[in-house]
């Protein structure tokens, strides 16, 4: 290279060719107005769609997101399934990674195109999305959809018997998760704990699910037994209101809380194993005696926790087996017999005494129980079915569903014939129908309202339909027609109804004139509700216990108007499910403990 490199000196002058071209420079007035459609700017939170699960706050590695209570003027819902808290973002911490958006189960938290904020005040960078930038609603940019979200919205499918297989026997329909499936399903949970509030028993759901996710099934079982002594039963048949409020359920399928509980409990195959794993701490006997009437869920729960706390507990049960309605009211394809036996066996191993075949009022008087014990818990449930209130109801082959189920579960024989009509739309009706279907009957369900109004679980309804049960909605029975002998049922007449919207109430079925139809049947199963039977309590006590429309009135510790008598289960609460009964039993334990141990001091 020569010292004087002419080409090398002149070539850069070609840069002058840019002279006069349009500049790249943006005018000041358009600067900052054109961010991309996916730009990650400030957060915007739809305050009404947000449920306050706090997942954004958990994923934030900068601890930039706090969950705070907003002022009353924002009308933040404080319902169950909504924590009432909303995220607040510290922009002195945020790094705009948008993981909070990708883990938001509801999709309420999004980022906007807005990013420009300067201030001399360092304390002004604490924003509550949606409150401080209401205009952000129209500038949403980085959002999450079900596809892009990091949440897993699809439940791990539960393996089941085929519908046509099922009707052949009473084998359990649901097969349960195996370990791999359970871990995968448990890891879908975001541990927000919104579910615990709707659970009548307030089970520690996020904790035991997390224990399963981490592979510690034993810990999970221990956590479950903390306030539920019949978890396997719950794991199979619970009405699981928890899953309705699951944060994942807002945009997807709820975490299978019930099936996970079932998985955890099924790890312990025998009652000895349960005892070994749960290994509860049993306190020294304190000398108090508690009598419990009815070995249903509420009674057994009370018995278990009282026994753990050192009380001397005796349970009086009229029937051959314990479990109450869960034993006699639930078909065996949902809750096998040995499952309940195992759980009750465990309770007995802990020291609960159960006197079976002892009906209070006949085998032993209420008075005796009352006098012998320091406290009495009544968990008698609703055994007496409601009448249909139509002509011909008392004919042979017209049977209440609870009675029918009790007979079947008690291994008694009741021939339903070829054609069966079930009246009602609750779980009992569906159970009755499905059991009848297992006896090779052609089953029709008549229900006053629409299918979507049925109080039964949708899974149950679907299961019934899979098994060939025909559901006839908007049909009101008018009368039952007897055959020539006048003793047996021959047919049922019903009238079709239309739904009339009513203000402030759910739509009401109104019969359509002249739409009466008659179908021939062999058996009619009525399932429109039950009530309690207090005839065993002698009059002097009945008068002391306050009743309201057939239900015993209690305070929040299940204490009745007689301080020594506590009550729980269907006879007290309206929800009529096992988990509420368990919760009643659990609360009663605290009440009894407070009453007896306080008086001692």
């Amino acid at each position: 290279m020569s010292f004087f490199d002419l080409k090398g000196l002149l070539r850069p002058l070609t840069g002058l060719s840019q002279f006069g071209k349009n500049p790249h420079t943006k005018r000041m007035d358009v600067l900052g107005q054109d961010t991309a459609d996916r730009y990650r700017g400030f957060h915007y939170n739809d305050l009404n769609a947000c449920i306050g699960c706090g997942n954004c706050s958990t994923i934030c590695m900068n601890e930039a997101i706090d969950m705070v209570e907003l002022a009353a003027e924002f009308n933040i819902s404080q319902d169950k399934g909504n924590s009432g808290l909303r995220p607040r973002v510290d922009y002195g911490r945020c790094c705009w990674c948008a993981l909070c958006v990708d883990v938001c189960p509801t999709g309420s938290l999004n980022l906007t195109k807005e990013y420009d904020y300067v201030s001399p005040d360092a304390n002004s960078f604490l924003w509550t999305p949606g409150v401080d930038n209401p205009y952000g609603k129209d500038q949403l940019s980085f959002t999450s959809s079900v596809e892009t979200s990091l949440m897993n919205f699809e439940r791990i499918p539960m393996r089941e018997l085929e519908g046509t297989e099922r009707v052949k026997s009473f084998a359990e329909v649901v097969l349960g998760y195996n370990e791999e499936e359970a871990r995968a399903e448990a890891s879908r949970c975001i541990s927000c704990s919104l579910c615990t509030e709707v659970c009548p028993d307030h089970m520690h759901i996020p904790e035991y699910i997390n224990a399963i996710a981490k592979g510690n099934d034993d810990d999970a079982l221990r956590i479950i037994y903390d306030n539920n002594p019949l978890p396997e039963m719950c794991g199979k048949v619970c009405t699981r209101r928890c899953e309705d409020v699951c944060a994942i359920a807002v945009r997807g399928e709820a975490v299978a809380i019930r099936w996970l509980k079932r998985y955890a409990t099924e790890r312990a195959q025998t009652s000895d194993l349960i005892k070994e794993i749960v290994n509860p701490e049993i306190q020294e006997a304190n000398g108090y005696k508690v009598g419990i009437i009815g070995a249903g869920p509420s009674g057994l729960t009370a018995a278990y926790y009282l026994a753990l706390r050192g009380f001397d507990v005796t349970v009086f049960e009229a029937k051959r087996f314990g479990g109450g309605m869960t034993m006699y009211g639930i078909p065996k394809y949902r809750l096998p017999m040995d499952s309940l036996d195992k759980q009750i066996g465990y309770l007995q191993k802990i020291g609960v005494k159960i006197n079976f075949n002892t009906r209070v009022g006949t085998d032993i008087t209420f008075d005796e129980i009352y006098k012998k014990h320091d406290a009495v818990f009544i968990g008698i449930g609703f055994e007496k079915p409601w009448k249909l209130g139509v002509e011909g109801e008392d004919l042979e082959n017209s049977i209440p569903a609870v009675e029918y189920l009790r007979m079947i579960n008690n291994e008694e024989i009741f021939d339903v014939g070829k054609k069966v009509v079930v009246i009602g739309g609750g779980n009992v009706a569906i159970d009755g129908a499905r059991v009848a279907a297992r006896h090779n009957a052609e089953v029709t369900i008549l229900y006053r309202r629409r299918v979507e109004d049925m109080p039964a679980d949708w899974e149950e309804i679907e299961g019934a339909e899979d098994e060939g049960v025909h559901i006839h909605p908007q049909a009101i029975p008018v009368r039952i027609i007897a055959d020539e002998s006048g003793k047996k049922v021959k047919a049922i007449e019903y009238i079709e109804a239309e739904m009339v919207a009513e203000e402030g109430a759910r739509p009401r079925p109104v019969p359509i004139e002249g739409s009466n139809k008659i179908i021939e049947v062999d058996t009619i199963i009525g399932a429109i509700g039950q009530e309690a039977d207090y005839s065993f309590i002698s009059e002097e006590y009945v008068n002391k216990i306050e009743l309201n429309r057939g239900r015993i009135v209690t305070n929040d510790q299940q204490q009745t108007s007689d301080a020594k008598i506590f009550a729980g289960g269907d006879a007290v609460n309206r929800t009529a499910d096992a988990i509420s009964a368990i919760a009643d039993g659990f609360r009663a334990v605290k009440g009894i403990e407070a009453m007896l141990l306080k008086t001692k001091k």
């Binding site: 706090g54 209570e69 002195g92 704990s193 997390n210 956590i223």
Partner: protein, 192 residues
């Protein structure tokens, strides 16, 4: 024709022939681990460099296994011919950790050793390098050790902006609202 060995297996065999009691593991494609004793490391590195063609030094990393009371030094070397990453791993006692100086084999090891000495407190007797590398006037425990709690240090040393004290925990709030009592043994499974 006998069984054909993959290039990773051949390397593992070569190392095992050259060094007695050396445990090797073919982990995956292009990755071979050799678990060596502290004394073996420099001879393995030299052997691999001179005889096997692992001329490129990639990385020296230290892992703190607090639970078992050990530091693990990982030397990663790479051969342009086989394209295999060879991990030479060795464990040091966590009390007074010291390791032979190997910066005459590869010059960059000097930098790594300075870092590891500063961050973990592992001594490399006999090597020349300024004491301070990344930190300045550091008086606390070597910060990359797992028992050094950075958050605690931050809370002691630095300030935090005020105004966020009203934050609430969702779990606690729900439990309080519903009257749920979470037993202590379950709390470790609650959300952090």
């Amino acid at each position: 024709m006998g069984t054909t060995y993959s290039k990773e297996e051949i390397l593992a065999q070569q190392l095992q022939t050259a060094f007695e009691h050396l445990i090797t593991e073919v982990v995956r494609k292009d990755t071979v681990f050799a678990f060596a004793t502290k004394e073996q490391v420099s001879s393995i590195l030299l052997y691999a460099k001179e005889k096997l063609g692992y001329i490129s030094f990639v990385h020296l990393s230290c892992v703190d296994w607090l639970e078992s009371g050990e530091f693990e030094l990982v030397y990663i070397i790479w051969s342009p011919e086989t394209k295999i990453n060879l991990f030479v791993k060795t464990r040091l006692d966590r009390e007074n950790p010291s390791m032979e100086n190997t910066d005459m084999i590869w010059r960059q090891i000097n930098t790594y050793q300075r870092e590891i000495r500063e961050m973990f407190g592992v001594e490399f007797p006999g090597f020349v390098g300024e004491k301070e590398f990344i930190l300045e006037d550091w008086e606390d425990a070597p910060p990359m050790r797992r028992d050094f709690d950075t958050l605690e240090y931050v809370n002691d040393t630095f300030f935090e902006r005020e105004g966020r004290e009203d934050k609430q925990d969702v779990r606690e709030r729900i439990a309080k609202r519903s009257g749920e009592e979470i037993p202590d043994f379950a709390k470790k499974y609650s959300r952090e």
